[in-house]
């Protein structure tokens, strides 16, 4: 079998990565002692990819918001029936999702692996769009969009993105708006499909109980070859400062929700993954569940168990942010700012740093228990130019100075607070 073996000494595990002749990258991660197999076929194409051209196009095109997601819905259907019907014959459980920077189609099965892989590779490579079937889907997608408009957890996050960014397409809901999806038609869907569903832009990742030789044989047979499209995606220029410092919306909810995002320049591509881990460790050590800050606010009832810190990171965006519920979101924001300023002067405790490092390491090991996480993890790692073990190694090697530097670089004043208040 061709390809390279990627190994982790630490986990005593390995998998195979193959650059297939079709152009597609294939990750094969057999876990024979499990009952299920999980396969995911994804493309580096998400809601942020709105302005682009290939080397064959004369000019850039800007497409309506929500088209990657619309395409995901439509690909499930071919001229005879939809993919769910095909999977129903084998009993596999299938799904698909669109994120900010990727779209993926997946199945999980405990039998008929080969047949399921054929279904997956079949429908993803066989678009069938008609004016009629596109029209029918519009209603369902509009329903989905409306459902999220009612969801305070989703709104508080997107409002924050809208307050932070002026132009970055990450501001828009992944599914678009009820208005934007009206502009989506057959021609645009085919254009996006032909641009982004090129095997050179795609990854097939399989983990669990399956036969790698059988999988490769099916790939050889079904993966259609194509030349590298020479994709060029425009990321709009983004001003340095946040667009708005405060944004508020009323919705039916119990306790107000908040999300505080700190705008910063996008790390270099090669460093983004490492920065993602370093900033996570920094925020966790500074404000996380065993920090002095956390227990002080928790004991006063200013925050509750929903409080969390993290970094929203992907292709073209990087936003350290802090979210939770509070009856006094403005005060929580001030407390966060004060604490980060204090830590900039006094430094994060070494003990906190060491503890968070172990914690992060543990969080990265646990998913290897699970076939789904492994298949998804290998695909995601591939999309960001890494392998599935990279983050474990980065974490084991993070130094205190890295975290100190991250805190130093965080521009505390350049932040947006988003709040959802309960309707009267």
């Amino acid at each position: 079998m061709s390809g390279e073996i990627i190994k982790s000494e630490r986990l005593k595990e390995s998998y195979r990565r193959i650059k297939h002749k079709s152009g597609c990258t294939i990750c094969l991660y057999p876990m024979p002692e499990y009952s299920t197999a999980y396969a995911i076929f994804g493309t580096r194409y998400g809601s942020v990819d709105t302005t682009f051209k290939t080397k064959n196009d004369s000019d850039y095109v800007t497409v309506p918001e929500g088209i990657a997601h619309y395409l995901e819905h439509k690909l499930f259907e071919n001229d005879e029936c939809d993919a769910f019907e095909l999977y129903a014959k084998t009993g596999a459980s299938a799904n698909a999702f669109t994120s900010f920077d990727s779209t993926a189609y997946l199945f999980s099965c405990s039998q008929c692996f080969g047949e399921n892989l054929r279904i997956l590779l079949g429908f993803v490579q066989d678009p069938y769009f008609t004016e009629e079937n596109i029209e029918k889907e519009r209603g369902i997608i509009a329903q989905e969009i409306k459902m999220y408009l009612d969801d305070p957890g989703t709104r508080v996050f997107f409002n924050c993105l809208n307050a932070v960014y002026h132009n970055n397409p990450v501001r828009s809901d992944i599914a678009g708006t009820v208005e934007s999806i009206q502009k989506i038609d057959k021609e645009l869907l085919y254009r996006c499909y032909n641009t982004f569903y090129n095997p050179n832009n795609m990854v097939l990742s399989i983990a669990g109980n399956f036969d790698p030789d059988e999988a490769l044989k099916i790939c050889d047979e079904l993966l259609k070859s194509a030349n590298d499209p020479g994709l060029d995606i425009i990321v709009p220029k983004e001003p340095e400062r946040v667009r708005e410092e405060y944004i508020v919306q009323q919705l039916p909810c119990a306790v107000p929700l908040f999300n505080l995002g700190f705008k910063m320049p996008l790390p270099e591509k090669e460093k983004q993954n490492e920065d993602y881990i370093i900033y996570n460790i920094m925020l966790e050590a500074a404000l996380g569940s065993f920090s002095e800050f956390y227990s002080r606010l928790y004991d006063k009832g200013a925050i509750n168990d929903t409080f969390g810190v993290g970094v929203f990171s992907g292709r073209g965006f990087f936003l350290p942010n802090i979210c939770g519920e509070s009856r006094e979101p403005q005060r929580v924001k001030e407390e966060i700012i004060n604490e980060l300023e204090r830590l900039k002067k006094d430094g994060i405790s070494h003990r906190a740093f060491e503890t968070v490092k172990k914690m992060t390491y543990g969080e990265l090991i646990a998913p290897f228990n699970n076939v789904e996480n492994v298949a998804r993890g290998a695909m995601q790692a591939e999309f960001s130019g890494q392998n599935i073990y990279t983050n474990v190694e980065i974490t084991a090697n993070v130094r205190y100075e890295d975290v100190e530097k991250a805190l130093e670089q965080l521009d505390i004043a350049n932040c947006s607070l988003s709040v959802i208040e309960p309707t009267e």
Binding site: S35, S93, M147, D151, A254, D305, K358, M359
Partner: protein, 424 residues
């Protein structure tokens, strides 16, 4: 697979089970108490684990305990509160990576067991009771949890549907207790209740993972035996009586998407046939509710059915455009009557069986699923592996399905919709 799961009584009314599987990189221990849902006790049962899980005599503040857990590679230790029909399940769980993956060769599992036992049997106290402040915070958290149900309209509607279907029965109560009851709880009452709980509540200890749980069995068993246990009789669910006529309740709320929750009741004894019937009706993407009501008629964004077997009840949840409420309801009822009249093919049945079997075969692949599976079987009074249910599903006939469908009659309907559409 049966040889994996073993259960024995280690103290009066306390059962210890373990399921050892070397594939897993983590170990998990659940200590679950059971009680019949009751207005006043429900609040105590939810509050006490919440307080216990945040500190213990060795780590008397939440911060210290959180820090210790983080050092143990992000071990988790938390409270569990859930219900199964009329029965409230509450207690603590702890999970961490297996010793084999510790960077510094720590004895992670042993320390995890001690932390968990200290939380349960040796809590942090102040003047002989739970610390007033931590009690108050957890009371507020529970109240917030109850109030926050409205944040997710989908869950909220399903919960209101259940409340209406099981009116005046234990199953209608909130697992977090009722707000007015929670507010009344004093530090003294909470501590008295806790001591009585250790003495009288039935308990299940379930361990899953790759580790050696003999130490857990020993120290948990000893701790319970020291108490002088006098267990109460085991709580059980009762079949829910049918209402004389179908009740419909409409709640007005400013939402973009309306919710429709419909309840049905049955006294049918063949529970396996009920599972297949409900799956055929609305179990997954090959079900009638999905393929007809969502895909073909585009009436709902989501539409599915779920069973509360111990109550003999089935609920159908859907998210609908306000103007389509009536149409959706009619279409949903038509799908049920189609099954009642035998309007489905043998192939439909085979598909659904395959899909259920696919899910069942994957139960053994996840630590959390295994715990849950066996806990539910223990509650139902018959312990068997997922493989056994596979066999039973296989023998369900077309006639069983029709019978099961005909055993259901409409009980109640709960609707959430915006002001202007509320006259449905």
């Amino acid at each position: 697979m049966e040889q994996h799961f073993q259960r024995r009584e280690i103290a009066d009314g306390v059962f210890f089970s373990h399921y050892i599987d070397r594939r897993f990189k983590i170990n998990r221990i659940d200590i679950i108490f059971t009680d019949t849902l009751e207005r006043r006790r429900a609040g105590f049962n939810a509050l006490i684990p919440a307080v216990l899980s945040r500190s213990n005599s060795r780590y008397p503040t939440m911060r210290e305990l959180n820090e210790r857990l983080s050092e143990l590679y992000s071990a988790s230790l938390g409270d569990i509160v859930k219900k199964n029909g009329d029965v409230q399940l509450y207690g603590l769980f702890a999970a961490a990576i297996d010793d084999a993956y510790a960077i510094d060769n720590e004895k992670v599992l042993s320390e995890l067991v001690h932390l968990l036992c200290d939380c349960l049997f040796s809590p942090a106290l102040e003047n002989g009771y739970f610390p007033e402040n931590s009690l108050d915070i957890q009371k507020q958290n529970l109240i917030d949890n109850n109030d926050a149900e409205i944040n997710d309209k989908r869950t909220y509607a399903a919960r209101k549907g259940i409340e209406l279907a099981f009116e005046n029965e234990p199953a209608a109560l909130s697992v977090y207790g009722e707000n007015d009851e929670i507010r009344k709880i004093t530090a003294r009452e909470a501590f008295e209740y806790y001591k009585n709980m250790l003495k009288t509540a039935n308990a299940e200890v379930i361990c899953v993972g790759s580790g050696d749980f003999s130490e857990a069995e020993k120290i948990i068993g000893e701790a319970f035996r020291r108490i002088g246990r006098k267990p109460l009789s085991r709580p059980e669910s009762r079949k829910s009586p049918k209402k004389d006529e179908v009740r419909t309740v409409t709640e007005k709320m400013s939402v973009s998407q309306s919710k429709l929750s419909m309840s049905f009741k049955s006294g049918y004894e063949n529970l396996t046939a009920m599972r297949v019937m409900s799956a055929l009706l609305g179990g997954d993407v090959s079900s009638k509710l999905f393929t007809v009501v969502r895909e073909k008629l585009s009436l709902c964004y989501y539409c599915y059915s779920h069973l509360t077997l111990s109550k003999g009840a089935m609920n159908i949840e859907s998210g609908v455009e306000p103007k389509n409420l009536k149409k959706a309801k009619t279409a949903i009822l038509e799908q049920l009557s189609d099954i009642q009249n035998g309007n489905f093919t043998d192939e439909d049945v085979e598909k659904i069986k395959r899909s259920i079997m696919n899910d069942l075969r994957s139960v053994n692949d996840r630590v959390g699923n295994i715990s849950n599976w066996y806990l539910n079987r223990i509650l139902e009074g018959e312990i068997f592996a997922p493989e056994e249910l596979l066999k039973r599903i296989g023998s369900v006939t077309r006639e069983n399905i029709i019978e099961a469908a005909n055993s259901f009659t409409a009980d109640s309907v709960y609707i959430i919709t915006s002001e202007e559409e509320a006259d449905e």
